[in-house]
């Protein structure tokens, strides 16, 4: 499976922290949002319930007012004073006027007993009119009869309730009322049909106005009342609606008996809570859903704030947790880096028993094993080197021996006994020092002793073809040098420098100390070598057949094996001028080595 680049390029620590954070972020957002939604829904539900209770209360109050008016109407209609006047039982103008006055007085007493009644008027088509005010001038009968309250009452049985309107019964008097009118026929059933009249009780509009006005529905909410015909009985913004600055969904309202509905008017959402009175008015509570959750902003803010707080807390925890988890891993990684660099003396200290702890223990075991193997390899290498050295040393003996013995034989044959003695003596000393006690390092003094014997032998062999001199500082005589390193160099100077030189040559061996190193030079004034020859010299293996003795290359190799690559041989040569071989080794005293 292809892993996402995002996760690949980051550490486990970061990955864990980021994953945790994202997880926590999502969870917190979901939780905060859900809790906000739930509590907002709960508040909303409460508000709706509260609104419908209020609306029901308004409905009950209004029903109460209207039924009061109805009972007043019923009471008035059964009064004997009114009945007397209406029936016209008294004859004569004076009597009739008296009856009218009594009836009016009765009506007035009823009106005065209640503040919510504006006026009570009785009118009948055959010309009888009476009101609670004797002095006020009623409008002419035809006008009264044509008014809505009269017509409505005539056209229906029972009580007719009008919408709110301006009552214009009296001259110069215009009051806002709600009219309750009722046919006389219902109570005076024995009367003939044409002697019909209507009783009107006007309810002060301010009663309804005050009742609705005091209802507080949130910040902006309000109550309005609409009658079954769809005309507004009460609306705080009635004029705005008529001016079409505001709209209400009256058709929706008229379709509902009771309950709540959300509507869109203009650019805003409103919640209508509708209840219907017994006589058909619909009381509508208008609330704004935004308003309903009065502390919506605060709830949002609180939800967001606590969400953010817990988020930060959780984030910190996740960062800490991922740190704690990856810390041992980091430690392990650090130790592995060390091991990579070659340090094997390490141990990862992780005590935990979990996967990482197991890993650490395994790592420790592995490192131990590697260490063991390493020391084993070192030992083996050492052994190999020693045996190789021994082999190299061993290579010298037979080669030189044959040549010298050949010379001795030759001298003996020619009867040069003195020389035979000298040569054999030198050889004997040479062999003794060569075989020695098997140690590798010897003092320079001994090596020089050895080389003197060697030079003596060679000088005799080549019939004094060269002279030699040794100039070595006394302070380095006690320093150690590898056994038998000078001999091949001198041999080389003889064979390649002096031997082919027609004149008598000279070999100079010079030794001195340079800082912590010892420099020994073998200088000859022979034919010299070109660079190609020098290169060959260092590369070649010991070439027994050519008789060139133990290879210079072997000397170089031994020095480097023993003292390291910094040391070894270097050559400086000029054709026909001679060659200088410089040998460098560290200045070591016997005690130190």
């Amino acid at each position: 499976m292809k892993r996402h680049r995002f996760f690949r390029s980051r550490s486990i620590h970061t990955n864990i922290a980021i994953s945790f954070s994202l997880l926590i972020l999502c969870t917190t957002i979901v939780l905060s949002y859900t809790s906000y939604r739930l509590s907002s829904a709960a508040v909303m539900g409460n508000s709706v319930a509260y609104t419908s209770q209020l609306i029901e209360q308004v409905k009950l109050n209004i029903e109460n007012y209207i039924s009061n008016m109805e009972s007043i109407a019923a009471l008035v209609l059964t009064s004997s004073d009114l009945e007397k006047y209406v029936k016209g039982s008294s004859s004569g103008q004076e009597r009739e006027a008296k009856d009218k006055q009594l009836a009016s007085q009765y009506l007035r007493s009823v009106v005065q007993s209640r503040t919510d009644i504006s006026s009570i008027v009785y009118a009948s088509s055959e010309g009888i009119t009476v009101s609670d005010r004797l002095d006020a001038v009623l409008k002419p009968l035809p006008e009264l009869v044509s008014q809505e309250w009269y017509q409505q009452a005539m056209n229906q049985t029972g009580v007719a309730v009008s919408s709110s309107h301006v009552q214009h019964l009296f001259q110069d008097e215009y009051r806002w009322v709600v009219s309750i009118s009722r046919k006389l026929l219902d109570t005076f059933s024995e009367m003939e049909a044409e002697r019909q009249g209507v009783l009107l009780v006007d309810l002060n509009y301010s009663v309804i106005n005050n009742l609705c006005k005091q209802i507080e529905l949130g910040k902006r909410g309000y109550v309005f009342i609409v009658d079954p015909a769809g005309s507004l009985v009460y609306h705080p913004q009635q004029q705005l609606i008529y001016s079409q600055l505001k709209f209400e969904q009256l058709e929706t309202v008229l379709g509902i008996k009771s309950g709540s509905v959300t509507v869109n008017t203009g650019d805003e959402q409103k919640l209508y809570t509708v209840d219907t009175t017994s006589f058909g008015w619909k009381i509508v509570g208008v609330t704004y859903p935004d308003d309903l959750v009065a502390n919506k902003q605060r709830m949002q803010g609180t939800a967001a704030l606590w969400g953010a707080v817990s988020l930060i807390f959780a984030m910190a925890t996740s960062v800490f947790l991922s740190y704690a988890l990856t810390k041992p891993l980091k430690k392990l990684e650090m130790n592995m880096k060390k091991a990579e660099r070659g340090e094997f003396d390490i141990r990862v200290e992780i005590e935990s028993t979990n996967e990482i702890g197991k890993l650490a223990r395994t790592f420790n075991l592995m490192i131990m094993k590697i260490k063991e193997l390493m020391s084993q390899i070192v030992m083996e290498q050492e052994m190999k080197r020693v045996s190789e050295l021994k082999a190299l040393q061993a290579q010298i003996k037979p080669h030189f021996l044959y040549n010298t013995l050949d010379s001795i034989i030759w001298m003996a044959e020619t009867g040069k006994m003195e020389e035979v003695v000298e040569m054999t003596s030198s050889l004997s000393k040479l062999l003794r020092s060569t075989i020695g006690e098997g140690e590798e390092l010897i003092p320079i003094a001994r090596e020089l002793e050895h080389i003197r014997h060697y030079l003596t032998i060679q000088n005799m062999r080549y019939r004094h073809k060269f002279t030699y001199s040794i100039e070595v500082h006394e302070d380095i005589l006690e320093c150690s040098i590898l056994k038998l390193v000078l001999q091949p160099l001198v041999e080389n100077a003889i064979y390649h420098g002096i031997k082919h030189n027609p004149e008598q040559g000279h070999i100079l061996i010079r030794g001195k100390r340079e800082q912590s190193d010892i420099i020994i030079q073998i200088i000859d004034n022979g034919v010299g070598m070109d660079t190609e020859q020098i290169g060959k010299l260092l590369l070649q293996k010991a070439d027994y057949k050519s008789g060139s003795g133990v290879g210079v290359a072997n000397v170089n190799h031994r020095i480097q094996l023993y003292f390291g690559d910094h040391y070894g041989l270097s050559f400086a040569s000029e054709m026909e001028e001679g060659t200088t071989v410089t040998l460098s080794i560290p200045a070591l005293y016997e005690e130190e080595s």
Partner: protein, 329 residues
Amino acid sequence: MGSLWSKIGLSALLLFFIVALGWVGYRMFTNELGTKVRTIIYVPKTIDSSIEFWEVMKQGVATAAKEFGADVHMVGTDTELDVDKQIQLLEQAIQEKPDAIILAATDYYRLVPIAEQIKAAGITLITVDSGLNGGVSESFIATDNYEAGRKAGQELIKNIHSDDQVAIINFVQGSATAIEREKGVRDALSQNGVNHVHDTLYSNGSSRKAYQLTIDLLKNQPQLKGIIGLNEPSTLGAGLAIMDMGLKSKVKLVGFDNSSSEVQLLEKEIMLGTVIQKPFTMGYLAVKTALEVVSGNKVDPIMDTGSEFITKENMYTSENEKLMFPFIE
């Protein structure tokens, strides 16, 4: 390198959340500030509670204040003529540093300097009903008086012949409202071929003067068939003169505004009808517009609240009842 990046990443993440937290806190804080109640000072021409027009406008103002959650308080002079006092009240209003001032200017010219001061103080100025020379305010909310005048003229024309004589009784010379209304009337008449229009008479806002002028007019001009009164006293005076001279069936009267006296003239059929304004709408729109300007929204520099022609027949319809007989609590 890798660990450096992850450290940067983590720090960035943490920083992001701290910033987010800060933002939420800031939002909460500013929301508290955002719900700060706007204050508006409403200066009508008069606070005389017996004048229905201003009472109804006050209702409109109060309705809007409740709906939009603004804190509106009213200051004003006892009469519509006290220009100096109104200027003084506005000076005080500036000291209170409201968000907006709604002004019904008592004078078209004299209030311009104080209006400039209001604007200079960074307060939103809305004029209602009566505006200012040069349109200093952010918005002027009133009846389109030219249109109202046209309406009156057109309604009169329906009841007279084009060769009939017509008189106009205006209320004051030089008032912007008066000029606009008269222009509307004259344009409507001439466009419909009524060319016998008498020189304008001025009642100076007195019904007695209007009565006297009309009596003289009716006596001297027996051919007169129509009169248009351009405000309440002018109309009332003319109506009473017609009634007293018994010329109800001969001379048609169209008026302006509403009062119970005018309602009687309508009911007695002395008057054909009256053009009425909508002070509730004016008050409501003034507050709404002021709040919109304060919130930084663009508004129309002039808003027409409209007018209605009311006759005996339609005055008790539920639409017109509220306008004709405002319910004053």
